[in-house]
């Protein structure tokens, strides 16, 4: 596969930085909730770090993403500042959405994070519209719609992929198949690979090891290039594994213990870290320094968030419509 795109050294390090950021942010999120410093609905992306990290290095701030309630990895990889994220999930006025959206609705157009939805399957119809806008303007931007394997079974998936294919929209549908739709295993809800469904709409569909940064990068860069060139959408099924239950506090008794242990033993973050050092791309010192900087940034973001003000009740009347309500 000589024509496959390979990330250069700097890009590999950047992919790792984003993965390390997601992992560290997830660990801190769970810790802060456990400590009782923050109450929020939390959907851990742990185990799925590679997918948005390897995709987003192929995107610019002008490209759009739509993501879901399990979306902090997508948002951070796309460049969402930690302080804005933490203040939002803490419900503070300094958050991305003044605390009015919360963890399931983080929005940050400055970095192209246009929609975060709490409704399974709803990224795809809206992503089409963003992509339609780019097509009309000819601005060369692409839109990435993220969703889980569970969303592949909702009607919006079919409607959206069909429309995107017919209209040749510059959109990339990224199914993060973490084997679980809430509490139910994927193989209990579908007889086919998600990627195979692309054939039904006449678009390329590819299943990729979503925990392999090189594979993920190559496939994403090809799909993004296709979209930018006006050649239409691609469906990517990125195989991964959700390390924890559906939502924080879920005891995940339904998850097979051996499978989970196997997945955790193959944790993609330390695996890629070791690979970078082994291949001479990065030194232990460089990565340790990077990780320390991330921890420091998270420290600052958490403290900033918790010290920020809550929004005033006047916000109930604002942003419902353009004009403030009486």
């Amino acid at each position: 596969m000589s024509n496959r795109a390979t990330p250069d050294a700097a890009t590999q390090i950047e992919i790792y930085r984003r993965m390390a950021l997601i992992k560290a942010n997830d660990e801190r999120s769970r810790k802060v909730i456990m400590n009782g410093r923050l109450v929020m609905p939390y959907y851990s992306p742990r185990g799925q770090e590679v997918i948005p990290s390897a995709i987003s290095v192929n995107l610019t701030d002008e490209d759009y993403i739509c993501t879901i309630y399990r979306g902090s990895h997508d948002q951070l990889a796309k460049g969402l500042p930690l302080k804005d994220l933490w203040a939002e999930v803490a419900g503070r006025t300094t958050g991305t959405c003044k605390g009015k959206g919360g963890p399931m609705h983080v929005t940050y157009p400055t970095k192209g994070i246009m929609v975060t939805t709490g409704i399974v399957g709803s990224t795809m119809p809206i992503a089409n519209g963003l992509a339609w806008g780019s097509q009309l303007r000819g601005d060369g931007r692409v839109t990435v719609a993220s969703f889980g394997d569970g969303a592949a079974n909702i009607g919006a998936f079919h409607e959206s992929l069909n429309l995107a294919a017919v209209w040749k929209l510059p959109v990339i549908f990224v199914c993060q198949n973490n084997e679980w739709g809430e509490h139910t295993a994927y193989d209990k809800t579908s007889n086919v690979k998600v990627a195979d469904r692309a054939a039904a709409y006449g678009m390329p569909g590819v299943r990729v090891d979503g925990n392999d940064p090189f594979e993920m990068y190559a496939i994403a860069s090809e799909a993004i290039a296709r979209a930018r060139a006006g050649e239409g959408p691609t469906l990517i099924e990125a195989m991964t594994y959700r390390f924890f239950g559906h939502v924080f506090g879920d005891a995940d008794a339904y998850m097979d213990k051996a499978r989970k242990e196997e997945a955790m033993a193959n944790d993609p973050v330390p695996r890629f870290r070791a690979q970078l050092i082994e291949s001479g791309i990065a030194t232990e010192e460089l990565l340790a320094e990077m990780e320390a900087a991330i921890e420091k940034d998270i420290d600052e973001a958490v403290e900033f968030a918790l010290a920020s003000d809550f929004p005033g009740v006047e916000e109930l009347k604002r942003d419902v419509f353009a004009e403030e309500m009486a």
């Binding site: 009015k100 409704i119 119809p125 809206i126 339609w132 919006a156 429309l163 942003d319």
Partner: protein, 335 residues
């Protein structure tokens, strides 16, 4: 417009007025785009031809026929609106909005609030409905109360060509999502034609006839039932004030309260079923604001609380008629 046509006022029907409003908006602003089932000219410009001519004039890139995929239609409109377009999405029939409720209610209506004002969704959702064409239970419901009950979306329902044009232009101008309800049986009724550029402010009712004994509040096709009722009441010596609400959300409380404050009696008429309908909200506000001034309990007239029936006599009996309005107003006037 030349002098001769000024003498005899130009006529147009609602269908033509909506078509003209969209065309004028598209001409004025390249960001106005339209999508929906059968919308473009190769598909005959919509099932009733409301959008006929638009794709030929502005191109199929701006006026697009879609698959029969209501979620995808509203989703595409939302997405394009987030990046500066002003999409007009057609949902062929109001009952079909039910398959796009997630996009309309969870997304179009809420993204401005949930994003803390960073994004907004300036879309117009055109939809058609109304009894009278023997369509049965799934093609002619009035579901406006569902949307009026959702924070973040505006709902309008014009009853004349002028208002249809003016409200459509205002809906396209509006920075928030607007549900624009069209009535099928009255599409082709000719009346005074709108002037190019005319605007009807959203949230502003229209007092169609002034009176002192009772206020009739109606909208959409019910105006056609209420107009003759006003004349009949006059013959019976009852002076009725008729208000065309035009906008259901946010409704014009000022105009309605002023009128009912004067008459002390109110009949609210809509084609939607009565329980939990727009009339219930209006009646509640009238009671809250005018309790001591009301001379009689507020009366609601709405569709029967059943699915719209097919059989002609049943369908006719389903929605309020002129005689019902007259009877209700007379009963109130006696109290």
């Amino acid at each position: 417009m030349n002098a001769q046509s000024n003498v005899k006022a130009a006529k147009a029907n609602i269908l033509q007025a909506i078509n003209a409003a969209i065309a004028d908006a598209m001409e004025a602003d390249d960001n106005v785009i339209a999508l929906g089932e059968d919308l473009a000219d190769p598909e005959e410009g919509g099932v009733c031809g409301v959008t006929k001519g638009l794709s030929s004039r502005f191109g199929e890139h701006r006026v697009r026929s879609t698959p029969i995929s209501e979620q995808a239609i509203i989703g595409a409109a939302i997405g394009a609106s987030l990046v500066g377009f002003k999409p007009i999405a057609e949902i062929m029939l109001m009952n079909f909005t039910t398959v796009a409720m997630d996009m309309i209610v969870n997304h179009a209506a809420k993204l401005r609030f949930m994003s803390g004002g960073q994004t907004h969704v300036p879309i117009v959702i055109r939809t058609m409905t109304g009894t009278g064409f023997a369509s049965g239970g799934q093609h002619c419901d009035y579901l406006e109360a569902w949307f009026a009950h959702t924070a973040g979306i505006k709902v309008v329902a014009p009853s004349s060509p002028k208002d249809a044009y003016g409200l459509m232009r205002s809906a396209i101008d509006d920075p928030d999502p607007v549900l624009f309800i069209e009535n099928l049986p009255t599409y082709w009724s000719p009346a005074e034609a709108p002037e190019k550029g005319h605007r009807v402010p959203i949230g502003k009712a229209n007092v169609l006839s002034e009176g002192s004994d009772v206020t009739i509040i109606a909208y959409a096709r019910m105006i056609q039932e209420a107009m003759p009722a006003v004349a009949k009441l006059k013959e019976a010596g009852i002076s009725a004030e008729l208000i065309d609400l035009r906008t259901i959300a946010p409704w014009d409380q000022e105009t309605v309260l002023k009128s009912v404050g004067k008459t002390g009696r109110a009949v609210i008429v809509h084609e939607a079923v009565t329980p939990f309908g727009a009339g219930a909200e209006i009646a509640a506000v009238l009671n809250e604001q005018l309790f001591g001034k009301l001379k009689a309990p507020v009366k609601r007239l709405g569709g029967a609380f059943c699915p719209v029936p097919f059989s002609k006599p049943l369908e006719t009996a389903f929605a309020p008629q002129t005689a019902d309005i007259v009877a209700a107003a007379e009963a109130l006037a006696k109290s």
